[in-house]
């Protein structure tokens, strides 16, 4: 315990005070009468009175804290290490593990030796040697690489997020590693080979939105990982050279539990697949790729009637009654089926084959199914246990109304656009569909909704209906589209969302928005962790509201907004409490980036500019893209030519 006497330096006192008050950002006082009278707001009467009050409180709080310093510290109860380790073995959440490690030296030590599962939210936030040094006994690792906006082609090729240094370090340090989960990272065949050879008990490989490897790498995994349970390639870009990689699973291999090859472009060896499925009695998840023909699906289902999650291949073939009845019978045999996906190229007359399993389905992904509203409605209306639905906007408002009436357990809804680049709406999907679902589905908490029109009134209704919303992503296709009824900005509508949905963790904005919406977000979005903004706001004030108000903000991504230097510099300290900030096509000057890079050594401030070195342009000219993230491992060494890091360089130091 730090001993404190009356001679405590000011900084120490400040530290104590800041620990006590816990809110380093400006407080917001807000309770007003909004009905008929004009807006009034409270003020502290004058700064002198305020100072006095603060002084008194400071003394009270501070004096309370001094008393324990005079007493001898209580002896912590002596707890054997193994027992403490046993207690820790019941604590899994990363945040709690982090808290445990910060309690005291002995807990830090115990915790690091028994940490089995690590999540690295940003692969550049720390280096592989740091990880393996601190946690010597890890069995499961998850790493994320590129920023989220890479999904929208905003991150140029070759940006980074190479997993190779991680695999190399872990190959040496963690011979008993069992699980690797990667998202938006570059993984090569060499890495896959190294994984296959280095980890004798390797069990789980999940690659989400990854790239850089071919089916040769997959063959290495199949051939060598005797204990593999899960192989999932979710939306990854795989150079599909040869479909025979599946045959590399030895005949003695029977432990497969989950296989997801839905993103592979070419045909896999179907007979090898059928043999594999037949000999793995624990197979629960099978997500096929488009190239698997419909008439082979029945065989696969018969070979694995215990399946819980199925992704079909192409869902069309010549309409033949015996194929249909075969398929329907096969589906009926799958009594455990809870999740369906796939459904490329649907021939509607084959849809009734899945009707027998509909009532048990909790998850249905029809985001590739180009079927029209009536067929969709017939299908979805039977899925009374549905909790998650991903669907194209062919569902239309009518379909969503049916869902609101039938799927009372719905928790997550994603509606994707069938024709996002068309200038005119091609389907009758409006804000009304979302309103219906918000009314009819009491458990709805996660929404991703693409549409072409929205109104403040609709957003208000949704907010009032669903205060339990935790993720709300609205994508009005046309940038800066106003409330279509009143032609006003959608500030008030989104304001209602953040105000009513007190547990909102993720929000994506769209439509015409001024600084006002950010004021609401800063005021009410106290639990907000991730915010995505595009084509919104008027000035730096908008950004300032968010950075200063959202206490739990971890990820902020912004594109095409008039945010410049001021808010960013004013809230520099906030950036160290966040995982990352992305700003592209905004108005942040090169100079501000340099300043930030100099003043904040624990941040990596990276300027992405494909026009050439920022030095060749005036300091005040805005950078193309800016990615700022906190790190304990200093600058990264693998930046491509169009990324510049703003360094702590004394030559650039401003007076």
């Amino acid at each position: 315990m730090q001993s404190s006497t009356d001679k405590t330096p000011p900084i120490q006192r400040l530290k104590l005070l800041s620990n006590l008050t816990q809110t380093p950002y400006p407080p917001l006082s807000a309770s007003f009468n909004t009905t008929t009278s004009p807006i009034q707001w409270r003020l502290r009467s004058n700064s002198n009175c305020f100072a006095l009050l603060r002084g008194i409180v400071f003394l009270l709080l501070f004096s309370r804290k001094t008393t324990p310093f005079d007493m001898p510290p209580r002896i912590a109860y002596s707890f054997p290490e193994e027992v403490l380790e046993h207690v820790f073995s019941f604590i899994h959440c990363d945040k709690d593990r982090g808290s445990i490690s910060l309690v005291c030296k002995s807990w830090y030590e115990i915790e690091r030796w028994c940490r089995r599962r690590v999540f690295v939210g940003n692969c550049y936030a720390l280096s592989p040697p740091t990880l393996v040094t601190r946690f010597p006994k890890v069995r499961s690792i998850a790493i994320k690489g590129k920023p989220h906006f890479a999904d929208f082609n905003l991150v140029p090729d070759g940006w980074g997020a190479y997993v190779s240094p991680w695999i190399k370090a872990m190959a040496v340090a963690y011979p008993f590693l069992q699980e690797i989960r990667l998202k938006r990272m570059v993984i090569t065949d060499e890495c896959l080979d190294l994984i296959a050879k280095s980890f004798k008990n390797f069990r789980v490989l999940v690659l989400t939105s990854c790239e850089g490897f071919t089916t040769h790498g997959l063959a290495a995994i199949a051939a060598n990982c005797r204990n593999l349970r899960e192989l999932e390639l979710r939306e990854s870009e795989v150079d599909d050279i040869c479909g025979h990689w599946l045959s590399h699973f030895p005949d003695s291999y029977t432990s497969l539990v989950s296989l997801n090859i839905s993103c592979l472009g070419n045909e896999v060896n179907l007979s090898a697949l059928e043999r594999l499925v037949s000999r793995c009695p624990n197979l629960q998840t099978l997500r096929l790729n488009r190239a698997v023909p419909l008439d082979r699906l029945a065989n696969l289902l018969r070979a694995a009637p215990q399946l819980v999650e199925l992704g079909t291949g192409t869902y069309t073939t010549e309409m033949r009654p015996e194929v249909f009845s075969n398929l329907a019978e096969a589906f009926s045999g799958c009594k455990q089926l809870k999740s369906l996906s796939g459904f490329w190229d649907v021939l509607p007359s084959y849809l009734p084959a899945v009707y027998p399993v509909c009532s048990n389905l909790t998850s249905l992904n029809l985001s590739y199914a180009t079927i029209q509203s009536p067929d969709l409605i017939k299908l979805v209306s039977q899925c009374e246990s549905l909790q998650r639905l991903w669907v194209l906007d062919y569902i239309e408002d009518d379909g969503l109304e049916v869902i609101a009436a039938s799927c009372k357990d719905l928790r997550e809804l994603r509606v994707f656009p069938s024709d996002p680049f068309g200038l005119e709406p091609n389907v009758a999907l409006t804000e009304q569909g979302l309103v219906s679902v918000s009314e009819g589905c009491p458990k709805l908490q996660s929404v991703l909704y693409f549409c072409r029109q929205m109104s403040n009134a609709a957003l208000h209704t949704i907010a009032r209906n669903r205060p339990n919303m935790t993720r709300f992503r609205l994508c009005i296709i046309e940038p800066k589209a106003p409330d279509y009824l009143t032609h006003q900005p959608l500030d008030a509508g989104f304001g209602a969302i953040v105000e009513h949905c007190k547990d909102l963790r993720r929000l994506s904005l769209s439509g015409l928005l001024t600084d006002r919406v950010f004021e609401y977000i800063g005021t009410y979005g106290k639990k907000l962790e991730m915010l995505s903004v595009a084509f919104a706001g008027d000035s730096d004030l908008g950004l300032h509201h968010v950075l200063s108000g959202c206490d739990n903000l971890r990820k902020l991504e912004i594109r095409d907004c008039p945010f410049g230097d001021k808010a960013l510099l004013a809230n520099a300290a906030k950036l160290e409490t966040m995982r990352s900030l992305w700003m592209s096509s905004c108005l942040v000057s090169y100079e501000a980036c340099k300043l930030l890079g100099q003043k904040m050594p624990r941040l990596n401030v990276e300027v992405i500019d494909e026009r050439g070195p920022p030095d060749s342009r005036p300091d005040s000219s805005p950078v193309e893209k800016l990615y700022i993230y906190r790190t304990v491992s200093g600058p990264r060494l693998d930046m491509p030519g169009y990324v510049w890091r703003m360094e702590d360089d004394s030559a650039l130091r401003i007076s």
């Binding site: 809110t23 912590a76 994603r414 209602a496 401003i654």
Partner: protein, 361 residues
């Protein structure tokens, strides 16, 4: 094997085992209860101890009489084969309701007696106590020292306000925020002009003739009466609710200062009154940052350096301002151009060639 002569001659012929705790006290416990503890069981079977007072089994140091009592309660219940799982679960849930310190002692003692089910039960309970707490709270609960250095505490990062350099910067940026607010109000005011031009002819003439400074002055003159009324009203409210403000006290300087109040009030008020006319719109009220602009916390030397840096920064920002405004207005114009597609669809935010459909993304 039990010495029959030593056993009390009771009709039921119950057998007992003798246990001695670290403080020297000895107690006798029903055999079936005590044997539920693997450590005791082992002792009895391997060494034959425990059959009499003189040959009492010495329990490990971590087991004191009170805790032994608890452990025996646990054993007494669970060693009965007849209980259902539900009954056991209910008993366990009630059993572990005790203060944290006792729970720690119990866990430790159960571990020394190798009573695994109880170790698991108590460990899980402790885990639940730890979950959701901050490191500080955990320290308090378990009376642990705060002996990690700042470097060691570095990961994970939390709100850092104690680094003197950062605090300096915060002071600097607070001043910047003030300026920002002032400028924003100015900009707002100018933007307000466009849709609803309420200026008198004189105002317009003087504006056209290039007297920007006068405009600000004239306007605040005209509306001073309105402002004063609002300010007074606000003061009444503030005195009533002063006690509530204590909770929001914050040592760091806030963004906006009273000085810019006049302009701010007027500009925001006009915006607000217009918003209120919208049908069906029930929006939340505006709030006001207040500048806790009190410098007592920093050393005078730091203050000086800070002031210098502020001036320097202000100078540099001022020189950039005209250019900034230009860029901003260009940004506005962009809106009017019809959206044209380029090949990778970058004008659209959330769409690309394949809409990202990955779960969780």
């Amino acid at each position: 094997m039990f010495d029959a002569a030593m056993a009390v001659a009771k009709p039921e012929m119950k057998s007992y085992i003798w246990l001695q705790t670290v403080d020297g006290s000895i107690q006798q416990v029903e055999e079936e209860v005590a044997m539920f503890c693997p450590m005791i069981c082992q002792e009895v079977l391997q060494t034959g101890m425990g059959s009499s007072k003189t040959y009492a089994i010495s329990l490990p140091q971590r087991v004191n009489p009170a805790i032994l009592g608890l452990i025996l309660d646990y054993c007494r219940f669970h060693q009965v084969p007849g209980h259902s799982n539900k009954e056991r679960k209910t008993f366990d849930e009630k059993f572990i309701r005790m203060d944290t310190e006792k729970l720690c002692e119990l866990t430790s003692a159960a571990d020394s007696l190798q009573l695994k089910p109880l170790v698991d039960l108590t460990s899980r309970a402790l885990a639940r106590i730890i979950e959701g707490k901050t490191p500080e709270e955990i320290r308090e609960t378990f009376h642990l020292p705060d002996d990690l250095t700042e470097e060691e505490k570095l990961e994970p990062l939390r709100n850092i306000t104690d680094d003197p350099r950062i605090r300096l910067l915060n002071r600097l940026y607070a001043r910047k925020r003030k300026e920002l607010k002032e400028r924003k109000k100015l900009k707002d005011v100018e933007i307000e002009e466009e849709p609803k031009d309420e200026r008198s002819v004189e105002d317009l003439l003087s504006f056209i003739n290039g007297a920007d400074g006068d405009i600000k002055g004239t306007r605040s003159n005209k509306n001073k009466k309105k402002n004063r009324r609002r300010k007074d009203h606000a003061k009444d409210l503030s005195s009533k609710t002063a006690s509530e403000n204590d909770k929001d006290l914050n040592p760091l300087p806030s963004a906006y200062c009273n000085a810019s109040f006049d302009n701010g009030l007027e500009a925001s008020a006009s915006k607000h009154s217009r918003m209120q006319n919208l049908p069906g719109v029930n929006f939340s009220p505006k709030f006001e940052f207040v500048d806790g602009d009190v410098d007592d916390d920093l050393d005078p030397a730091m203050k000086e350096e800070l002031d210098r840096e502020v001036e320097d920064f202000a100078r540099r920002l001022n020189s950039d301002w005209p250019e900034r405004m230009q860029i901003l207005s260009l940004g506005q114009d962009r809106r009017l151009v019809p959206i044209s597609m380029n090949s990778n669809g970058s004008m659209h935010l959330y769409t690309n060639n394949s809409i990202s459909k990955v779960s969780g993304s």
